[in-house]
Each structure stands twice: as structure tokens, then as C-alpha cells.
Amino acid sequence: MTHRLVSWLLALAALSMGTAALAHKPSDAYLTLEVQDTQVEQRLDIHLRDLDRELVLDHDDDGRLQWAEVRTRWEELQRYTAERVRLSVAGQPCSAVATGEPQLDEHTDGAYAVLRSRWTCPAGAQALAIDYRLFADTDASHRGLLRLRHGTGTPQTAVLVPGSAPPASVSLVATAGEAPSGFGGFVAEGIHHILIGTDHVLFLLALLLPAVLVTGAASRRDAAPQWRPMLTEVLKIVTAFTVAHSVTLALAVLDIVDPPSRWVESLIAVSVVFTAVDNLRPMLAPQHRWRLTLVFGLVHGFGFAGALKDLGLGGGSLAASLLGFNLGVELGQLSLVALFLPLAWWARGTRFYQRGVLLGGSSAVALLALAWVVERAFDVPLPGA
């Protein structure tokens, strides 16, 4: 509400004087479409207040809408929306059947009815036309907020104006082209993802930094004298990371577990902080580090899964995409280790490595990752980010 409202003249019926700005949200409905070949799964969330205005759901007229008053009218609600939201491809209408149980969902301004249906469209669609006319003649500021997913590609969004002619049209071609193609494509994406994923790289480096050192008397760290135990330890860590993230990557991609990405990303940052701090003030005996890696590797796997899902699994088989992507991640990880380890081994005896790289580097990594934690967990944008 922005402006004061001024009274009207006695001689007139009530009139608004103010330039009062919008206060609650104006009426929106949320239209979600999931396109799989010729099938389109539709979910439409409509505010109960809007539906009541059209269909008088409040049967006893007491101003309190009870669940029974909504539930018993569900078929009518489905018919009402089916008449007002229609899909077609190339002028050929798609046909719909209502699905799903009567359900509600909470949005920012109250409860919405969740109406689901399944459309079958003619094959070979290049674009989907959405004829949206919900509340076209009763609320001129109503809008439909469209979110369309094609396959597993990045969702497209649009604001639908009721009754607009011609109907909104959404291309179904563009997103499909973006998904990597073939097994090799997914391997390349996996390598790419770990190499540009600063958080994964820093985690791995933070883990490996102390590997070339041994803890001597008075907790002093010295250069490791023998390369065999060092290599065994590195192997244990890398294997633990691989096993753990492969498990969760598969679980998430197969939709068996789907933790929220905000928590996953935050925990990945936490894992980097923890590991870097452990380099500064060792809390774990070196021989136990692989266990820590196992735990945190689980979290990183969910992170990889998020990346893979964002890519879209393409037209190929799920197993091949998953395997290819994972293989890419391992290859990227191994090349990183192969690059880092000889250098670290070579420099391990220097003060530069023991102080500058291990302590200085770990401090820097800890600080950076701490900033990520804040940014990701509390949704605070970092300056300059």
C-alpha cells in the first residue's frame, strides 16, 4: 500500500482516491508442465479464494472454507480448469484426463488447490501451444506462471496472460538440444564438472595436502620419508571419495533420495571448511582421514547429481549417462591427483610447503569455504559474487 486513500464526495458512490500500490500478491496460478514425448503431466495450483469467487465453494457461506467444502467439489474444479487451460501442438488439440487426489499446497498468500491432469498430444511436436483463459473475464490482473520441463532439461518459464491471442507457444526443441549426447559427452561433462567445481577441487586438495608429511615429535610435521605409506594413504582417501560419491550420485539420479540442493551445497562447503581446519589444527589422526572422506564424499555425490540433472539426461539410457558422468568425474579427479602429488612430494621438505602451502593455503581455503557456507546456507549474496 503506497498512498493514502482519500475520501470521496458524498454525492458519489464510493470510489478509490489513492494510488494505493498492490498489497497482497495479485492473483497468480502456477502451471507446471512436464513434457515426456507425447505425454504432458500438468499441475495447476489455483488460489482457493479465486475458485470460491467463481464457483462459490463456501457452501454454508460462513466465510470459512472447510476442506469438505473443497473436496466434495473437486470434479467440478477439474472440469472448470480443463475448460480454461488447453494444450495443442500444430493446431491439433491434446486430450486430457484428470489425475491425482484432491490436494492443497501453501504458497506465499495462502492455500491453493492442486489440480493435476495428464495430456496426450499428437506426436512430433516442435512447440506446445498453451491456451490459457483462467479468470479471463473476471480478474483482469490474473496471470498464469508457467514452468515447463521438457525431459530433464532446464525448465522454461513464462507469464501467461489469460485469453491472449494467439495462445502462448513454448518451443520443445531448444532444451532437448542442450543435453550432452552420447556416452563420451557425459564423460566429458563429468571431467568438466570436477575441474571447474572449485569446491570439489579444494576439498580434494585440502585432503591431500598433509599426505606427503608425517607428524613427528611435539606434533611437528616433517617430510614423509617413504613414498609407499604415503601412496597407500592417498589411495585410501581417493577410493573413499570415489565410492561415497558414486553411491549418492546414483541414488540421487535414480530419484531414490533427493535432498534439497541448498543443504547439499552448504554441506559441501562445510566439508571443505572442516578439512582445511583439520589441516591447521589436526582433530583426526591421519589414518582416519579416509573415513571423514567417506562421509563427506556422500555429500559431494549429491552435488554431482545436481549438476548431472541440470544437464539433462538426454535421450540416451540413464545407466549410460550416469556411468559416463561418473567416469568423467573419476578421470578428472585422478588427473588432479596425478598433477598435484609429484609436485607436493618434491616440495614436501621445504618451509614453503610446510608453512606457506599447508598452513597458508589451508587458512585461505577455510576462509573461502566459510564464506560459501554463509552464502549457501543463509542465501546471503557475497560482495562481488
Partner: protein, 411 residues
């Protein structure tokens, strides 16, 4: 397994568990009696609205539909004033759809169209409609007077106080004399208020107080509520504690969302946060943004654990509004960023953009606060210029003005 590792594991598992699915998920209430939504207004008012809507719908686009359509639109705008639910503006606009796009619709439609455009901050087209209506000889005189009044509010909102003053003079002129007190009173109120906004607060306050003795709430609660609100806002600018009683009186006469927000601001300025909570004691989902904002600020300042939920909800709503391409929310958005998120750098551009559109005392204060908090006081230069041009004083701004500001600006 040693302790830090065990701790790590526990933290990791808890964190994953806590997150759950992001956002709400669809659910089926288990009990038929669960109240899933409340509908605003009285049963009688809702019945009447439904009946009107049916009537309008049945008559379609025929000219005979006009009276019912006007009534429907006016009732919707009324509900918008009371509850602050912008979907009512959409309902009003839809009722006028057959006439909406006409270059010169019937005068009554034109007046309502201007009102609706104004709520959407389409000030230019709204002014065009109002000027045209005032210049149309065939338009009924009461409609023209109402157009004058809406025009005044609009000019005042834009900070064009001198133009508003001239318009107010015209409203009080012989042209509208035949309409009697129904015009004379509002003309006197606007003259006194504009005087108070242009450097002469004492005269303004005196005249408004005199008007209040002439006007009994029983005879005209609408104008009485308006007068109380105008007096309350003036008292607030003067730092006069009488503001509280006047706001409460206005609210009693006409329970409007704007007045409630004004009262909440007055209370917030005096650290009376608990009273703000009582004023906005409704389910968060049902609160208009204006009150949700004030409630969230009060909760935050009280260190109440419910503060985060209120701020998050407001943030989501503002996001949703922006997604629609709506820019009428900049004032709320700027204040949200400034007071609830501690991001004055992000708030400042919004406060500046808001100031470009509207220049009321509250807008001046917002821009000054944002500019100061962002460490860029020079960004509020235009506010100082505006205050200087109109010799405007505002007790609330004293703290926000730079030390070098001319003494006339500071009480």
C-alpha cells in the same frame, strides 16, 4: 570411530534430514472440518458481490450492463481499500472490460479507469483520463468534482504540490459551488493539507482542526476518517503525539489497510513493537504486504524467533511480484532490503527509482535512510532540493538529514 568424525556424521545426517523437500508439498487435509481458507468481508457483502457478478456476466457487453458493471467495479475497489488485496483491482478492471479500451468511454467508466490506472502507478494515462473528464462539458458535475479530487491525490503523490494547490483552488471555486458541502469540505481539507506540506504547518493544522469541529463522523464517516488521517499525518510530521489518537480515530471510522500501515509506522518509530504485533495479528498469509512488512520489522527488532518466517514470506511475495514484471512495489522492496535484510546498497537503487515516480514524505524519508545507510548521502540530493523548494519540514527526517542541511529543513 573417534569423536570429531562421529560429530561430523551426526551433523551431516541432521542437515540432510532437516532440509526435507524444499518448499511446501501438496497435501490432503486429514480432517474434513479443517478450515483451509478464510474469505474476506461479511456474508452479506460476499452474497451481494456474487449477485452483481452474475448480473454483469449475464448482461455481457450490452450497454444495459453498465450500471451493474460500475457497481461491481466500485465494490471491488472498496474491498481493495479495506483489505489491500490487489486481486480486487483485477476484478474491477474485468468488470469494465467492454469499455476499458475505448478512447472516450462513458464518464463514470473513465473515472473508475483513472482510479484503477492510478493504483497500478500508470500516472500518465490516469491524468489523461482525469483531465479529459474535467474538460468534457457533458460529464456530470459530481463526476468531474470526483475527478478533480483523484487528480489532486495523484499530483500530491508525484510531489507536484504547486499543481495540486491550483487544482485544489479550482475544486473550491464557483464551478463546483452547486454541489455544496460535499465538495466544499474536501476542498478545504486539501487546501489546508497542501499549506501544511508547503511550509505553513501551523495554518494547516489550525484549519484542519477547525474543519474537524464542523464535521460529525455520523453525517459522513468517509470524509471524517479521511480528515482524521490527514490530521494524523500532519501531527506525525510535526512530531506531535496527537498523531496516535488521530490515526486510531481514522481507523475506527474506516478500517483501511493504508491507515493501519501509517499507525504501525508511527508505533515502530517509537519502539512500541508489541502494539504493531497486535495491530497485525492475523495469519501471515492473509496480511497485505504493507502490514506484513511492518510486522516483520517489529518481530525482528524484538528478536522474536518468528521474525525470519515473516521476512522470508515477504521476500517470496516480492519476488513473485517482480516475476510478473510489477514495479509498483519498490517502496516495500527497498524497505524490506534496508530494514529486514540489512542491504542498503541494494535498497538504494530501488528507493531512487521509487522517488522518480512518487515523492510523498514517506518516500523522502525512505530515500534519505537508504542513502545514509549505504554511505552515499549525496544520492538523496534531490530529496533535499524537493524539501527546500516546498519549505517542507518533517520531524521524522531530522535525524536523517545531513549536518549541512539548511536550518529551514530541520525542526
Amino acid at each position: 570411530m573417534n569423536t570429531p568424525l562421529a560429530r561430523t556424521l551426526v551433523v551431516a545426517l541432521i542437515a540432510i534430514g532437516l532440509g526435507g523437500p524444499s518448499g511446501a508439498t501438496p497435501h490432503t487435509p486429514s480432517d474434513d472440518q479443517t478450515v483451509v481458507a478464510t474469505l474476506p468481508g461479511t456474508t452479506a457483502a460476499r452474497r451481494q458481490a456474487r449477485q452483481l457478478a452474475r448480473q454483469v456476466h449475464a448482461l455481457g457487453t450490452s450497454p444495459a450492463a453498465l450500471p451493474a458493471a460500475l457497481q461491481l467495479a466500485r465494490a471491488a475497489i472498496d474491498r481493495f481499500r479495506r483489505d489491500g488485496d490487489p486481486r480486487e483491482i483485477g476484478v474491477a478492471r474485468a468488470a469494465l472490460a467492454p469499455w476499458w479500451s475505448q478512447a472516450a468511454p462513458p464518464p463514470a467508466v473513465r473515472l473508475l479507469r483513472a482510479s484503477i490506472l492510478q493504483t497500478q502507478h500508470d500516472f500518465g494515462p490516469a491524468l489523461t483520463d482525469l483531465d479529459a473528464l474535467i474538460a468534457t462539458p457533458q460529464a456530470p458535475l459530481p463526476l468531474q468534482a470526483q475527478a478533480e479530487l483523484i487528480r489532486l491525490a495523484l499530483l500530491q503523490a508525484q510531489g507536484r504540490l504547486e499543481d495540486a494547490r491550483q487544482g485544489c483552488e479550482r475544486l473550491g471555486s464557483a464551478r463546483y459551488a452547486t454541489l455544496g458541502d460535499s465538495v466544499r469540505l474536501p476542498a478545504a481539507v486539501c487546501a489546508a493539507e497542501l499549506a501544511s506540506l508547503m511550509g505553513d504547518e501551523n495554518r494547516g493544522a489550525r484549519e484542519l482542526a477547525a474543519l474537524a469541529t464542523r464535521l460529525t463522523p455520523q453525517s459522513d464517516p468517509g470524509t471524517a476518517a479521511w480528515l482524521a488521517l490527514v490530521r494524523g499525518e500532519l501531527a506525525e510530521r510535526r512530531g506531535d503525539p496527537a498523531a496516535l489518537g488521530l490515526f486510531e480515530q481514522a481507523l475506527q471510522l474506516a478500517p483501511e489497510a493504508y491507515t493501519r500501515a501509517a499507525l504501525a509506522d508511527w508505533l515502530l518509530d517509537r519502539q512500541r513493537h508489541a502494539e504493531v504485533l497486535r495491530l497485525s495479528d492475523t495469519a501471515l498469509e492473509d496480511l497485505p504486504d504493507s502490514l506484513l512488512l511492518r510486522r516483520a520489522i517489529a518481530l525482528k527488532r524484538l528478536g522474536d524467533p518468528r521474525a525470519a518466517a515473516a521476512a522470508d514470506l515477504l521476500g517470496q511475495r516480492l519476488d513473485a511480484t517482480r516475476e510478473r514484471g510489477d514495479t509498483t512495489h519498490r517502496r516495500e522492496q527497498a524497505r524490506y532490503l534496508l530494514e529486514l535484510r540489512g542491504q542498503p546498497q541494494a535498497a538504494l537503487p530501488l528507493a531512487l527509482a521509487n522517488w522518480a515516480v512518487q515523492k510523498e514524505p514517506a518516500d523522502a524519508r525512505l530515500l534519505l535512510d537508504c542513502a545514509n545507510a549505504a554511505g552515499q548521502p549525496q544520492a538523496a540530493q534531490d530529496v533535499l532540493r524537493h524539501l527546500r523548494v516546498y519549505h517542507q519540514r518533517d520531524a521524522r527526517l531530522t535525524a536523517a538529514l545531513p549536518p549541512g542541511a539548511p536550518p529551514t529543513l530541520i525542526r
